[in-house]
Amino acid sequence: MLGPLDYALVVFGLVAETYVVVCLCLSKSSLRYLSLSVYMLAVIGLTIAQDVALLRFGVSSQVYGYVYYYTDALLTISLFFVIMSFYHQVFQQMGVGKYVRWASVFLLSATALFSYLVVRRMPSHHLTNRFVVEMSQNLYFVGVVLTYLLWGAVVKLRETRTRLIQLVLALGIFFSADAAGYALRNLFPALEPSFLKWVPPMAGLFLPLAWAYTFTKISEDARLETARVALPRMAAHQHS
């Protein structure tokens, strides 16, 4: 049974996601963040689809389970395109756009293969709780690794665009919170009803809120030294 907090998180999330899309549509840089807008629209659409399934079939039904976890996996994979667009922006000046496109194709193929291997390894192909938790944990972890590599590139290449820096860091927080949450659910299933079930909706609310904040408060021209932001060890690598 869902409580008022669950519904509040969904509503706040939808408002923040819509706000980000409207902000981007009205701004001059809408084309630069096209993949982000498309992702946000997909989140809005699939959240509504999840809610329809929830109202029609109930929270404990298998149909809702399928809709929830598979749309979540689809959204995670579509978020990889957003990461790739950030990679493209970071490496744009180096003229390596062609390699980034190839890397995206490779990444998608690798993710598909990885997911297939995970599904094949399961004794039963039915949607089991353990399977979806493991699958989500792995997908989010791929996201964490990709975002961390991107952040490393941002620091190393001394990227100064404040917007891009904050967008990447918010993405990192989202992916790592979700990956840690799912991994903990895998390790300690008993913690799920009391605490861990709140991690995905909280992280899901944080991302559009953080992006909304960035697009509202940080102008496209704002600049920031990454040495001021990165941890001392990373900043030291930047200067070496």
Partner: protein, 135 residues
């Protein structure tokens, strides 16, 4: 085993991303200089703010009318200040360098709140001047 590894790496990277995110918010305020008035009100000498003044500064900020654009920043920085307090206490015996780094970060948080207070005082003053001119 894999889940445990993913969990540990994700938690470490989460902390790293969160620290950098908080620092990106603080860095924007670091560029502003404190006005003479705020330094007098709070009792600050020079441009450095003591980390222990954080709580008092937050209380003063709450007394000022809101401009409405710094509430989220204050919440994020508040969490960061709290985290750095835990790190400072935990590392005191084991790693003095980490302790001094955490202390500098806490001082950065306090400076951030002082700048927010400065902006709110300026906003209140403008508001008052506007009301006076309307009369």
């Amino acid at each position: 085993m894999i889940a445990a590894l993913i969990c540990v790496i994700s938690v470490v990277l989460f902390l790293q991303f969160f620290i950098s995110y908080s620092r990106s918010i603080i860095a924007a305020y670091r560029m502003s200089e404190l006005s003479e008035q705020v330094r007098e009100v709070v009792g600050i000498e020079g441009q450095e703010v003591n980390s222990d003044q954080f709580g008092r500064l937050v209380q003063l900020v709450r007394l000022c009318p809101q401009k409405g654009d710094d509430r989220t920043d204050l919440k994020v920085v508040g969490v960061y200040y709290w985290m750095m307090g835990i790190l400072r206490s935990a590392a005191r015996q084991l790693a003095p360098r980490v302790t001094s780094w955490a202390e500098r970060e806490r001082a950065g948080c306090a400076y951030f709140v002082a700048v927010a207070l400065d902006r709110r005082i300026a906003y209140s003053r403008d508001l008052l001047a506007q009301q006076m001119s309307d009369r």
